[in-house]
């Protein structure tokens, strides 16, 4: 079955720097991949979707890449701010495309 691997270690970044989070998957390449943000005590919020035929997607200070050869997606936040501190989850459809499965998330902390 598909497995999603996100760095379980928290990522601490200085404000203003670029934060880069990694999502690796182990089996088939999904048709698309999503990134969500989750703040403490709240449900995840959708940020970006990238399709398998797209190498890169941008939204304001966010950039997502999708490398089907490496079976990896990278999530970048440029000019990071303390308000970007949260847990970031990647998600993709399972092998039957019947449901979305989530990684365990990476906690990002931006220090002033």
């Amino acid at each position: 079955s598909q497995k999603i691997e996100q760095n379980s270690e928290a990522l601490n970044i200085q404000e203003g720097k670029t934060a880069t989070l990694t999502c690796n998957y182990t089996n088939y390449s999904p048709a698309y991949l999503q990134w969500y943000r989750q703040d403490p005590g709240r449900g995840p919020v959708f940020l970006l979707l990238i399709r398998e035929n797209e190498k890169e997607k941008r939204k304001e200070r966010l950039k997502v890449t999708f490398d089907t050869t490496l079976k990896q997606s990278l999530f970048h936040i440029t000019a990071s701010q303390p308000a970007d501190s949260a847990t970031y989850l990647c998600a993709l459809p399972d092998s039957s495309a019947s449901k979305i499965i989530f990684g365990s998330g990476t906690r990002l902390s931006i220090r002033p």
Binding site: Y32, G43, V45, F46, L89
Partner: protein, 116 residues
């Protein structure tokens, strides 16, 4: 418009009691998901409803867990004979349909369940 709502927001119960958690999806969303999230952990898929199709119950951890959905509206997750290990936040999400960009999930605020 209104987002996904869940009730109650917090539930404290004694071990062995049954609990019922409710989810109101976004109107018009045909797909509905339940997840469990233990403290500091990721999302654990429980069950998925899509329109009138048979639900995908592959994530339910035991037969003490069950869920129902009436048409394309409200869903109820029931946990019978609760155990302390059931303590977690239960999240509900809905999406417009299955497949493609419309699979974006919109999450409710969750129900925090504490089993004493």
């Amino acid at each position: 418009g209104a987002g996904v709502s869940q009730s109650p927001s917090n539930k404290v119960t004694e071990k062995g009691k049954d609990v019922e958690l409710r989810c109101d999806p976004i109107s018009g969303h045909t797909a509905l998901y339940w997840y469990r999230q233990r403290l500091g952990q990721g999302l654990e898929f429980l069950i998925y409803f899509q329109g009138n199709s048979a639900p995908d119950k592959s994530g339910l951890p035991s037969d003490r867990f069950s869920a129902e959905r009436t048409g394309e509206s409200v869903s109820t997750l029931t946990i019978q004979r609760t155990q302390q290990e059931d303590s977690a936040v239960y999240l509900c999400a809905s999406s417009l349909t299955r497949g493609g960009s419309t699979d974006t999930q919109y999450f409710g605020p969750g129900t925090r369940l504490t089993v004493l």
